[in-house]
Symmetry: C2
Subunit: 110 residues, 2 copies
């Protein structure tokens, strides 16, 4: 049964490769300056595509694509109101993750 020598590990945490793949995809979706900013904004209020685009300094269609990406990933949901579309946070853990990111990079804490 070939007991592979365990050199340094005391106990290795279990890790389902598929779960890591999924987590990586989700993080990759988040790992973009504009998308991070969008998430931060949506955690604090309700915004239309155009408002998000303007704040981020990108054209509307670019913002729309970022939003679609995050929606496909399950991070956001959208809701139409007349001609406008409002996006909102769908994944509760985004708040925790953004808190980590914020406390590290935008030492907004304090």
């Amino acid at each position: 049964m070939a007991a592979k020598s365990k050199l340094t590990s005391s106990t290795k945490p279990p890790g389902d490769p598929a779960a890591f793949a999924q987590a990586a995809e989700c993080l990759k979706t988040l790992a973009h300056p504009v998308r991070l900013r969008i998430v931060q904004l949506l955690l604090h209020g309700r915004y239309t595509v155009g408002e998000l685009a303007e704040d981020c300094g990108v054209p509307d269609n670019v913002a729309s694509e970022h939003l679609r990406l995050m929606q496909r990933c399950g991070l956001l949901t959208s809701e139409r109101d007349g001609r406008r579309v409002f996006y909102q946070i769908a994944e509760p853990h985004l708040e925790d993750i953004m808190a980590c990111v914020t406390s590290r990079f935008l030492h907004t804490g304090k």
Copy 2:
């Protein structure tokens, strides 16, 4: 002075674009299945390049490149011991972020 109408926001969180760019780069570095697994392992113990490579199911040189990426980003540091090289966590916030990721994707909690 064109007071731009604030439609939906109550108060927008401040956001330094450069900070978001840096955060995004850091997250992007983390956003890879192998690198996530490596970080998880290093949070629990001390491993050589070869051990990490074997656990992740990738050739040694590939693991080495992933480690170098994370080192360049400031996430890890390395320490030589004979022919082996041990990597370790350099960025304290990695523990928090991995906790978020773990609780979402590897509901190892409970």
